[in-house]
């Protein structure tokens, strides 16, 4: 966030600059409210933050690099299940289990991405969709390891060594830190040489190639970064809930994360967090509608897509003069 501050801070104050901060202020307000009020809003926000981790990754691949993947849930599942199995069946501690989980997911992302990223457009999308479905099937069928639909329970909470974060507020605080770090990283990537290469690939693969940008390599890099975030989210989920079953990483996760990305603002830095929070809390604000809850939620989503087609964060971006970026590469 400090880099954002540095890049958006103008020489003189303008009221429009506070608008640029609105997504952050709203996000901080929601998280702060949850922290103070306790109760199940904490649970909602904790899940939202885990999803934010997932969507930050998705945004790098889809927003920055303009590719499509319907299969990021596969990496969440790989890492989540690795975490779960290592900590329960083999009694590992949480941190190394997460590390191995994420590493395994990244390895899979490399093996999958290397051939498939040469595919274009809808071939890539279909390929990634297949990866998600296959992973789901494996988590159901490989029951000697995954326990199938029965799921794995008794997964220890997040923690370092003997210190375990079990309280709701503790988990919330830890996730806030993780999301801030990742958001900061994504902001840095956006303005780095790597990020410029992503945006060049997004703009026009041929134009990027003609400038000497190795398109396939950067697509792969983007895919792997994105998979790493998805994997981390998967592991965080299983340690926070203490349970994992195939449904957790099903198609539901893909739909939810896409909604978050588009509502929040694809390609923006604040979008994933804002989108994850809004989409997680929105249905709940309509809980009083009972059977019409989904209808109300759907209606609001449609309105959002009509009036903020580039997402909420982009809505505030519009009023902001272009970022000042240093001259050196």
């Amino acid at each position: 966030m400090t880099s954002l501050l540095a890049t958006t801070l103008p020489s003189r104050f303008r009221w429009t600059d506070t608008l640029a901060w609105l997504p952050w202020i709203i996000s901080a307000g929601i998280v702060g409210y949850a922290f103070l009020s306790g109760g199940y809003v904490v649970t909602l926000v904790v899940f939202a933050l885990i999803y934010a981790v997932f969507v930050i990754g998705l945004n790098i691949f889809m927003g920055f690099t303009n590719q499509v993947s319907f299969g990021q849930n596969a990496f969440a599942a790989i890492s989540g299940y690795t975490s779960a199995v290592l900590t329960t069946a083999y009694e590992w501690t949480t941190l190394p289990a997460i590390a191995v989980g994420v590493a395994l997911a990244v390895l899979c992302a490399f093996l999958i991405g290397y051939p498939t990223l040469r595919l274009k457009g809808h071939y890539l999308a279909m390929g990634t969709l297949a990866i998600g479905l296959i992973t789901y099937e494996i988590s159901v069928e490989w029951s000697s390891v995954t326990q199938g639909y029965m799921g794995i329970s008794g997964i220890p909470p997040l923690g370092i060594g003997a210190y375990e974060v079990t309280s709701d507020r503790g988990q919330l605080a830890l996730l806030v830190v993780i999301v801030l770090i990742l958001t900061f990283m994504s902001a840095r990537i956006r303005t780095s040489r790597l990020g410029r290469a992503f945006f060049a690939v997004a703009g026009s693969e041929d134009a990027a190639r003609a400038l000497g940008v190795d398109v396939a390599r950067y697509k792969l890099a983007s895919f792997i970064l994105s998979a790493a975030c998805a994997a981390l989210a998967g592991s965080l989920f299983v340690h926070v809930v203490g349970f994992v079953s195939p449904e957790v990483f099903g198609l539901h996760m893909v739909i939810l994360s896409f909604t978050m990305l588009y509502v929040g603002g694809i390609g923006t830095v604040a979008g994933p967090l804002l989108g994850a929070l809004i989409v997680s809390l929105l249905p709940d604000t309509f809980r009083a509608f009972k059977d019409y809850q989904d209808l109300a939620y759907g209606a609001v989503l449609i309105l959002l897509l009509i009036y903020a087609p580039r997402g909420l964060a982009a809505l505030f971006d519009r009023y902001v003069p272009a970022k000042k970026v240093g001259g050196a590469p």
Binding site: Y33, S37, Y40, T285
Partner: protein
């Protein structure tokens, strides 16, 4: 109330403290986490209706120990993550002191650690969690997986010449458990399992699996699992022109009528007592079923009572335990249910103990068939 909470969260800082003053005799709040939407919708809606019917019956008589019961239902969308959220919501926002939750087992498992921490017990429609610490706070009305299998094996042994069978099951935990029991128990009935095939709930054709079992010599198929696949299996058997019996597991009777039209007297199904009330002799079981069925039929007519009757049992046995234990406190209720034995429910007699949290220990099931559109009990 949640609406206000979130609104104030969005506008930042608005306070919406709606905690009212404690009333002398507040209703006892019981939560249901149910998959009102998603794959469990049919079962869990029925379960909810059964619990609510029991609550209305209890309240009409003045409540439990003079305290009214209030049911709070939240839709978990048949997803574990949603289940965690709604459990938390009902615990922290609604002050629920007991759960009578539906059949989304993954959701109940995912929420189990929270209930352990909150010291709130739950009576379930689904199977029990796996962790001993979590089982301590969980009870189920679900009959042991073996019962449905044994009812069918016993019929084959006693009433037919079929000695070789195939098992056709879906990958759900309960179906897997039943399959395992079938493998273990078949020999006791002098029956050999010559093929075990798995299918998925959305499969549109099962003829490959069925042909395989038929060519292995199976004279009957034990189908384990819910939904439209039962009709698919029946049609496949007919299309293939096979002379095989189809014996399916417990299910909504509405699903079975078209199956019976396809297979006629070669189709059998496991039925719970409430589904075949008219074929039962008078006795405590029939009396309890009538107590449930009278208001049920008044409200829902011909709707299948199977899942709802277990929901009814869930709340009624909880009420009995609270009356006996004399307290609404979570740990006391938990202890009281553990001490509940010989309780006559609509599905059978529940005998709970510290070791047994799956209360139905005597097989209550019968085997039914449909002749000329009428349900008949064959064993």
């Amino acid at each position: 109330m949640k609406y206000h909470l979130i609104l104030s969260a969005l506008t930042v800082g608005g306070l919406a403290s709606l905690a009212g003053p404690a009333i002398a005799q507040e209703p006892f709040k019981i939560g249901i986490s149910a998959g009102l939407t998603g794959y469990a919708a049919t079962v869990d809606r029925a379960w909810r209706d059964g619990v609510e019917l029991a609550a209305a019956t209890i309240n009409a008589k003045g409540g439990i120990k003079g305290r009214k019961v209030q049911i709070i239902v939240e839709d978990n969308r048949s997803e574990p993550q949603e289940a965690v959220t709604v459990y938390r919501k009902m615990l922290s926002s609604d002050g629920v002191g007991m759960f009578i939750s539906g059949c989304v087992s993954a959701g109940n498992f995912a929420a189990a650690p929270i209930l352990v921490r909150a010291e709130v017990p739950m009576v379930l429609c689904s199977i029990l969690p796996q962790q001993p610490a979590q089982v301590k706070w969980a009870y189920t009305t679900l009959p042991p997986a073996g019962f449905e299998v044994e009812t069918r094996l016993a019929y084959l042994k006693d009433k037919t010449q079929v000695r070789k069978i195939g098992v056709l099951h879906d990958p759900t935990p309960y179906a897997n458990l039943q399959k395992t029991v079938a493998e273990k128990e078949a020999a006791k009935y002098g029956i050999e399992i010559v093929g075990i095939e798995q299918y998925k709930q959305d499969d549109a054709d099962l003829s490959v699996q069925i042909s395989k079992m038929n060519s292995a010599g199976a004279g009957a198929i034990l189908k384990i699992g819910l939904g439209g696949t039962t009709l698919t299996a029946a049609k496949n058997i007919k299309q293939l022109g096979l002379n095989m019996l189809l014996l399916t597991s417990l299910e909504d009777l509405a699903v079975f009528r078209p199956v019976a039209e396809v297979l006629g007297d070669k189709f059998f199904f496991v039925a719970s007592p409430s589904q075949v009330r008219d074929a039962l002799p008078a006795g405590p079981l029939a009396t309890e079923i009538d107590r449930f069925l009278a208001p049920w039929r008044e409200k829902y007519g011909d709707r299948d009572p199977n899942w709802a009757s277990r929901g009814w049992d869930g709340l009624m046995l909880t009420a009995a335990a609270i009356e006996k234990g004399g307290s609404f406190e979570g740990p006391k209720v938990r202890d009281a249910i553990e001490g509940l034995s010989g309780y006559q429910g609509t599905t059978g007699v529940y005998d709970f103990s510290p070791e047994v949290h799956q209360g139905l220990t005597i097989n209550p099931f019968v085997l039914g068939t449909i002749v000329d559109g009428k349900v008949k009990v064959v064993q």
